[in-house]
Point group: C2
Chain length 164, copies 2
């Protein structure tokens, strides 16, 4: 398994939780959790990193789940729209949501060395942003908060390089 989020964790149950939560919420909200959508989320959760739409498409294509870009983009649109995945604007890439069960204002830590992406909660930072925006008369619908830097695993001299 390559490029986990920063901390070691039980990745099997992490994937299962993500899918279960999505399944449950789709059932509850009358959303169609179709095979492509389900598999797209499963791939994102399994890879546990930011994937480009075409990366995802490669996986889907290999499994006969669609071969053209719109297939991937539609699945991603669905996942992002309903909060099962997020888009990392800085990377033009997508990650499975780490907190699928809750309403949340996500922020991301992007490691420049190993490409790992971790999702953190940004409630306070978003609050400040919303406050200073509202002083300017601006209403915030969505906040993109992404930090680029160095993750704990790459702090040491022996920095992990992204695979070729």
């Amino acid at each position: 398994m390559s490029r986990l989020a920063f901390d070691a964790h039980d990745h099997h149950s992490c994937i299962a939780d993500t899918l279960d939560a999505a399944e449950a919420r789709c059932a509850k909200s009358g959303l169609q959790f179709t095979p492509v959508r389900r598999r797209a989320l499963e791939i994102l959760a399994t890879e546990h990193r930011a994937m480009g739409a075409y990366d995802l498409l490669d996986h889907l294509r290999a499994e006969g789940l669609g071969s053209q870009p719109p297939v991937a983009y539609r699945a991603l649109d669905f996942l992002v729209k309903h909060g099962f995945a997020h888009k990392i604007e800085r990377l033009n890439a997508f990650v499975a949501c780490s907190h699928p069960d809750t309403d949340h204002s996500p922020a991301f830590l992007i490691c420049r060395h190993c490409d790992a992406v971790a999702e953190i909660r940004a409630r306070d930072a978003r609050g400040l942003l919303t406050d200073s925006a509202s002083k300017a008369g601006f209403t915030v619908d969505r906040a993109v908060i992404e930090a680029e830097g160095t993750c704990p695993n790459c702090q040491d001299g022996t920095e992990v390089q992204a695979p070729a």
Copy 2:
């Protein structure tokens, strides 16, 4: 003049200030403020909105300052690298910096209705982000902070639509 930042202001001196500041800092730091770079910044400052690289290229091309994408991207790389302009990741677009004289951690307010983009200072929000990142052992080099929403001029019923 279309799509200013939210507040009315003396746009002439705003452009002049931007160019003067850039010129001064280039002189001081031994950077080459070449015609393409200067004109690129002037265009960004004049338009006073987020422009795509190809938008900028159209302007440059019309003036005989280069006709191929790398010309625009190189100029933008230079401007962004030295803080004279910023990239809005959410839009894959670029704006002239509004605070060229100071070191700053910028955040952006992006209006969904009229496409105006305002730059605000994000020192506090960035601070919070850096704090919570460092608790995770993550070192922040750069923070992308962009809010999407509705600007004061578009709050009223008669919302300004982006030009066709």
